[in-house]
Amino acid sequence: MANVEITKVRKCFGNVEVLHEISLSIQTGEFVVLVGPSGCGKSTLLRMVAGLDVPTSGTIAIDSEIVNSMPPKLRGVAMVFQNYALYPHMTVRQNLSFGLKLAKVDSLEIKKRVLESSEILGIQDHLDKKPGQLSGGQKQRVAMGRAMVRQPKVFLFDEPLSNLDAQLRVKMRTELSLLHRRVQATSIYVTHDQVEAMTLADRIAVMYQGKLEQVGKPLELYQNPKTKFVASFIGTPSMNFIEGEILTKLKPPKGSVCGGFRPESTFLSEEGAPAKLFLGKGRVVLVEPLGAMAYVHVSLAGQTVIIEAKSEVFPKNEDPVSVWIDPTKIFFFQDNGNRL
């Protein structure tokens, strides 16, 4: 186990700077998720920790040792790839033991570790099959097993669940979470799925356009987003934003301001929570019933607001409605996206 220290790392491809001075420190045993839309540079950052890419400037240290010029095999990292990258011509057993054989690990020890990790992952019955004969979930487990047997200092995951169907993805997510609690290995996990990030991470690092927007515990990001991007990226459905004039008794705005409020702190009636703020009247454009609640999309002053409605009777399309918000749960953002 080891900590990972990323200090002022920049990466340029030709003239394009894809990562701007990223600094991030990951504690021993911590599970950190890098999340952001595609193209934000999260995979590049992960590949630099692995040693598959080289930073243009800045340093990466694993276990307090700078590894910038160290080849991947000496770094003690193991990586789970998005498309698994299992060797198609080798059996599962050969896939799992390949790295250990290259490292000249004793064959009894290899056998032991392969058996151990395949039991943990529940793939012990498939050891003599080739990857082509496995289902998506099984391939996924083999890919994780291949990382586990090497007992690396750091686990790296590059969108490992994104090739699975929705149901399996949820299941594997849970398993991964339990596995991490058991193994307590330092892990860096890249995904574009904020739900995965929220459920797996000890800490989340939100990246956007090559910059770190915010780093923090999952709930901290949800409850206290520092930028408009984080506010909009974390949480489903996305936070509502209203631009333009805002009733200003609460905070004095400087220049043009944008107010954000989550669907669950937006209401269709004044009842319930104290001191609600009237936002305006609008028309229902879409109702998405989910059972106990529904997401109601309301067109209001030319913008669409999503409301999490919890009543038994949901409004219908075209119904005129009034919208209230909880004034204590409004976030204000400046033009540059920073929180006021």
Binding site: L52, K73, M79, F81, Q82, Y87, H89, F98
Partner: protein, 290 residues
């Protein structure tokens, strides 16, 4: 509806079946029939003579020589061209400087036919004014009269053939190498494999379908070589470069021994089939399909 489509289908297939019938299936069967016949060169009258043609063939030392020559030629062209093109393709894939220029250079012979390739080499092999013997002379070696020396003629043809074939093979190897997912090479790198180990444990096994395909095609091409032999040596000296195909050509169209040549065609067909089946058998164990 179904009747319509059946009529249309046969209509669309008509030209294909007509040509295949006239120029492939009928002649293939006819060759088989002719191989059991003696055909008079001028009157074109033919008589059934059973296996006589085959007997003549296998009693002829010249035919055995052409079998031997064909085998040596096969070994001298297929193995070097496979190894060289594989090595060059792997190096080209390692992103050298001037990659595009180098690739074009190596692929260029694809655009050159075997007879033209022979013309390119014919003067290089010239015993007195050719460049090859000049270089050997500078190194203090007396170069032979390449194309007229029974010991060297076949080697000389093989070199020109390999020179021409390499480009074709490299195309396939490069395509095969690009098709190997980068993640696999990266995964192997993270697993601690050195470049050499990556080559032998990951790249080559994954390239094995391409390797198999290229070797099957190379063997067939080599067995069918004709143009370069016709131009460089015309089968000589002393029959040392007379392959099966060349022998067939001479018997059929120079000596007009139609029946005999037809039996040679049948033997050639069996040999090509045999070589291909043999390779498929070998491949079953060693080729990994993803």
């Amino acid at each position: 509806m179904k009747k319509d489509s059946s009529l249309l289908a046969w209509g669309l297939l008509f030209p294909t079946l007509l040509v295949l019938g006239c120029f492939v299936i009928y002649p293939a069967l006819q060759s088989f029939v002719l191989s059991f016949q003696d055909v008079e060169p001028f009157s074109k009258q033919s008589f059934f003579i059973g296996f006589e043609n085959y007997m003549v063939l296998f009693r002829s030392p010249d035919y055995w020589q052409s079998l031997r020559v064909t085998f040596f030629f096969l070994v001298m062209t297929v193995i070097p061209s496979l190894l060289l093109s594989l090595a060059i393709a792997i190096t080209l894939d390692a992103n050298p400087f001037f990659q595009n220029f180098l690739r074009t250079l190596f692929l260029l012979p694809v655009a050159i036919s075997s007879s033209m390739a022979a013309m390119l080499w014919i003067f290089i092999y010239n015993p007195t004014a050719g460049f090859l013997n000049y270089i050997l002379d500078v190194m203090g070696i007396q170069g032979p009269n390449w194309l007229a020396d029974p010991d060297y003629a076949l080697v000389a043809i093989a070199v020109a053939t390999v020179w021409k074939e390499i480009g074709f093979n490299i195309i396939f190897f490069l395509a095969g190498l690009t098709a190997i997912p980068t993640e696999l090479k990266e995964a192997a790198e993270l697993d601690g494999a050195s470049p050499r180990q990556r080559l032998f444990y990951v790249v080559l096994p994954l390239l094995s379908p391409t390797l198999f395909f290229v070797s099957v095609v190379s063997v067939i091409n080599s067995l069918q070589s004709f143009g370069q032999i016709h131009i460089l040596t015309a089968g000589g000296p002393m029959g040392e470069s007379t392959t099966l195909v060349y022998n067939l050509y001479r018997d059929a169209f120079v000596k007009f021994r139609t029946g005999l040549a037809s039996s040679e065609a049948v033997v050639l067909f069996i040999l090509i089939m045999g070589a291909t089946v043999f390779q498929f058998r070998m491949a079953k164990k060693r080729v990994h399909y993803g």
